[in-house]
Assembly symmetry: C2
Homo-oligomer: 661 residues x 2
């Protein structure tokens, strides 16, 4: 094995501190971290205290550990579950790695569980470095022979990411030693001079770039680059179940792609890895292809919740504006992948629109994937539910403790564990600090001018006030940049009690550049008045509807807030009241504390339909229809739905008259 000198590490999942084409650079957990209170810190703690332990029990029950024992030759029996079972273990380990850096570190049971998992991976690894329990146990003769469906490179990618997390956050190199050996047979098969081949499920691309960032070994970057370069030429063939090569983004070469297509998680893991390659190589054609696809994604294929991927069939993006509500797929993993991609584009460009989408996705389409109790998960995150159990296929009305295909739960765990990373950045040249996400937090960095420490205090997302106090400042000038969320209609910025005007740059940030003094205080007042949002006229599934949003939160109507004789699916928003009449109320005892939004609703009378799905307009009854019943309209944050009695839910709300956009 080649000796690898691991570079001095800091605790961060994406280390762009030396990336030559990063406009901004991500911060380590030592530089930017959530304070122990607040919306996200509470969830991060629950992740450490409840979800990670639950995850290990589920991995044990589902057979993931058993499969590794089979590969190690220390157990008997059949392989269990789908081909990518190993990746659930390594994603969980990645999440535990992040938790190891939290105050107090890992508790004894989590440490023991992690030791067990790491030990099993070490024991299962073959002498040549190969490690994939499915192919070792079930089909050793088909190693590297089923790139389209086999997930070997996907599993390797997740192992590499777990290894990097343990190295950087836990300062423990056991997994890294395994991962570096795992890369060896991959290099032998796919490296320079070897036959072309790409993974059916992208993921290893971003892992290899990150490994390059950790080890400085160019071969890791080059291997990622090869997987990017060879993609889109049909090497994978048609997908056996879903037809075209578009399913796994093998229809169009990466640099020529202008549409986001196929399996959503594959598509977004690929674009994440491609953007990582750009950050290291600066190849303009890659960035341009990414920006084209991001525009296609957000302009024509994005759910209001930040959800991505509209089709159950193929778990795929659909045609433009094909965004069904009840049959939205919006896999939790796709929301996570979207956040990872937009983060890298934010670092590459310095444009707030990417942080805006991260925020939208975090608070809505990602967070809905996790129950308030931290132990149940949604795989599919629809925007409407009839509240009926599903009898065919995926998509249920209650979150589940685990899944046969269990990619989402450990993915939730690893994103929550590394969330501090997405708070802030610094300029590539150290001129200033950018705050992207508002949460109680501490930021301490060395800028070009010298050491800076900030404290962010806020009750976000419930209150719009964000106070930033400078606790330490050098003698020279530096800039503070604060994202202005696009949804904030009237935003106020104050410095030491005086309004600051015209501080907006062209990319969505307030910029205050000055020589700061300790004790300086910036107050950002975001406009949290509940607002109505209209769908694009071609968004068929939401025609005649509006959505309610407040700050970063998308709202929904859920049956438990309505009387039994008022089906929430029949509730329309009364537009004869002006939008200003939407009001918000803090409910400390509801759903762990939420701000509800209130308006006036009207109940549509469906009794006259006599069990018909359509009716001729010529057959209308004489006389005017009865005046619809009024009902108080109550909306809760979308992320919190399905934490009470299962029942109907809807995000897009019919209106009593056209909205006239």
């Amino acid at each position: 094995m080649q000796v690898t000198t691991v570079q001095a590490t800091a605790s961060l999942p994406v280390d762009t501190r030396r990336s030559p084409y990063a406009h901004w650079r991500g911060l380590s957990r030592e530089q930017a971290r959530l304070e122990p209170t607040g919306f996200w810190a509470t969830r991060q703690q629950r992740n450490r205290q409840v979800t990670l332990g639950h995850g290990f029990r589920m991995l044990d029950e589902a057979g993931n550990l058993h499969n590794l024992r089979l590969a190690a030759g220390t157990a008997q029996g059949d392989y269990r579950g789908p081909v990518f079972m190993d990746s659930d273990v390594t994603k969980w380990l990645e999440a535990v790695g992040y938790a190891a850096a939290a105050p107090g570190g890992l508790d004894a049971s989590l440490r023991q569980a992690a030791d067990t998992a790491i030990g099993l991976l070490a024991a299962a690894q073959q002498p040549d470095g190969y490690l994939d329990s499915y192919y070792q146990v079930v089909a050793p003769e088909r190693r590297w022979a089923e790139l389209n469906t086999g997930h070997e490179l996907y599993c390797a990618g997740h192992l590499i990411q777990a290894a990097i997390a343990w190295q950087r956050y836990a300062h423990d190199d056991r997994l890294l030693q395994i991962a570096l050996r795992v890369v060896e047979p991959i290099n032998s098969r796919f490296g320079p001079g070897q036959p072309a081949g790409v993974p059916g499920h992208p993921e290893i691309e971003m892992a290899l770039v990150e490994l390059y960032r950790l080890t400085g070994r160019r071969e890791h970057l080059e291997l990622a680059q090869r997987f990017v370069d060879q993609r889109g030429y049909g090497l994978l063939g048609p997908n056996p179940r879903f037809g075209g090569a578009a399913y796994y983004q093998d229809r169009v070469p990466v640099r020529e792609a202008s549409e986001i297509e196929g399996h959503a998680v594959r598509a977004l893991y690929l674009t994440t890895g491609v953007t990582d390659v750009y950050l290291e190589t600066g190849e303009g054609a890659l960035l341009e292809a990414m920006l084209r696809q991001w525009a296609d994604f957000t302009g024509r294929k994005l759910y209001l919740t930040g959800g991505a991927g509209s089709r159950h069939s193929g778990e795929a993006f659909g045609h433009p504006y094909e965004l069904p509500t009840e049959r939205a797929y919006c896999e939790t993993c796709a929301a996570i992948a979207s956040i990872m991609w937009s983060w890298r584009l934010l670092l590459a460009t310095g444009e707030a629109r990417f942080a805006d989408l991260i925020e939208r996705t975090l608070y809505n389409g990602f967070l809905s994937g996790l129950a308030l109790d931290g132990q149940r998960f949604f795989y599919v995150n629809p925007l409407l539910s009839h509240g009926r159990p599903e009898v065919v296929g995926r998509g249920v009305v209650e979150r589940q403790p685990w899944f046969l295909v269990a990619c989402c739960p450990p993915n939730v765990m690893r994103l929550l564990g590394s969330l501090d990373h997405y708070l802030a950045t610094i300029d590539a040249d150290g001129r200033g600090i950018q705050v992207h996400q508002y949460a109680p937090s501490v930021i301490a960095v060395d800028l070009a001018a010298g050491a800076v420490e900030l404290r962010v205090a806020t009750d976000y997302p419930w209150q719009g006030r964000v106070e930033i106090t400078v606790d330490r400042a050098p003698s020279g000038p530096w800039s503070l940049q604060l994202r202005r969320p696009r949804w904030s209609v009237s935003t106020r910025l104050q410095l030491n009690g005086a309004d600051v005007h015209s501080a907006l740059d062209g990319h969505g940030y307030f910029v205050v550049e000055r020589t700061w003094q300790p004790g300086d205080r910036v107050v950002l007042e975001l406009d949290l008045h509940p607002r109505m949002t209209a769908p694009h006229p071609r968004l068929e599934a939401a025609r005649g509807c509006v959505a309610i949003e407040r700050g970063p939160l998308v709202y929904c109507l859920e049956q438990p807030d309505y009387p039994d004789d008022a089906d929430v699916l029949d509730v329309a928003l009364d537009l004869d009241l002006p939008p200003e009449r939407l009001s918000a109320t803090w409910q400390p005892d509801l759903l762990d504390g939420v701000m509800t939004v209130h308006a006036r609703g009207r109940l549509t009378d469906t009794a006259a339909w006599d069990g018909a799905t359509f009716r001729s307009l010529q057959k209308r009854r004489p006389g005017s229809p009865p005046a619809p019943r009024t009902v108080p309209l109550v909306a809760i944050p979308y992320y919190a739905w399905a934490n009470r009695t299962p029942g109907p839910m809807r995000v897009w709300i019919p209106t009593t008259r056209p909205i006239g956009v």
Copy 2:
């Protein structure tokens, strides 16, 4: 082999002439037949002259015949295609059997092709009667071991139906001899005293009841009954791809079911077979379960086109009102199955609503499955298309010559071939004649009163006038019943030039009972004024829209009728004009001759959306939006879409203001 006395045969696919629980009885081709001109006769001729020959070429190319040769031991190579390839051959043979009874019979090439196929089936059959090329060639050891996915009983059912068609229409018993031997190993495995077992894909139930009707052998009926009785107890286990047993209607016992659920074709083939069992046994619990499911189907899960099954994933029915437009599945086979089911319910009950649905389905969701040239097919029949080729999964913008899963094309052929059967019935006690579908046709039956002959002349569906002339009548009284389609708002009935009033019975039929004279003429004037149809308020995918219908035809907007700068997806129907202003124009040179419908349209301006899928209402521009551009709205019959340059299409049309239902 047991000696079987085949009862005296007549040419009809469903022989209810002796079914004890038939309210009405179906007619043979000798008793009711299409005249050689008219909407359906033209299509039937094209079926014989073009489609059947095309079908044989495709079966040859796709490997269906090759597979039978492998089973017969007369060819070398690998089995090709999915497990149910044999059923495509036998469905095609069934269609050829119907064609054999047409004037002039089969041409030489079709006869030769049929002889080839029959010969291959005979050669492939094993000495014990077993015949299924997949299990014979690929997996002989798994015979009857994969009932959930193996399709052996499904293939056997289609063979039986083909055999019956050849016996009855071509008076040729070669296939029947094969089919009777095929039933032997099935009886040995599934008959009395044998372990329980049901087919993963229903179909054999209706085939076995029909075989009982042909042979009079009760064991055939009893075997069908066993498959019905044993279903719904989870014998099939969870489906490997789509989860629950609901996928193949094995979740709820047949007599307890109240919802139509799971794979649409399986569900509707099953209900067809169950209704067949009822017609022979009269078991009330079966009919009640069928009527409950039919109400669930038509009240909550039916497409305006008659299409059935909303989901690509699992090809399944969705939740109530889950009826997406662009992602409608509406498999052509499901439309055919729906017609077969409603026909049997019509025979069981004598209620016009079943014939109404047959009509809706025939003219729309079924017929859209076939190109005007008779050589290309839709598997999936959406209600909206963005006009873009599909890159993942099924669903395309152009009809295809054939499919890897080619169930639909030969199913279209067999329904077209047997269409005469659905025209008319007689009472069980021979008191009168019921005309269900209006087409140029001749009806000649022996009623209780004596021999009757009628001639039906009409330009239906383009004109609403239907003339029925009595050519022969006995001296005693008998009744003529004419279906009044529910869509006909103002209908006029005349007898020998004088208006007939109050002739409607309670079930949707005009009844004229009298002693008829040769030369008597009844004229039915149906109201073909174009009408607007509204969706149920919970039909999310059509909110804010109406559809245009004219007579039995559902209309759609298609891009070739609009200028390039007016995307048909942006066209709204101007409701400021009264519905009476919808007008129709005969276009002899368009799409083989169609009546187009015209109105005033408005173009929605989407330019202001700047590539966003949603937009805050607070950010509306000052001033009122520009007045929308007016565009002539042109609609064509839905069945005829996608026969010109591929482009966008929509059935549900947005309106400029709420329709107020």
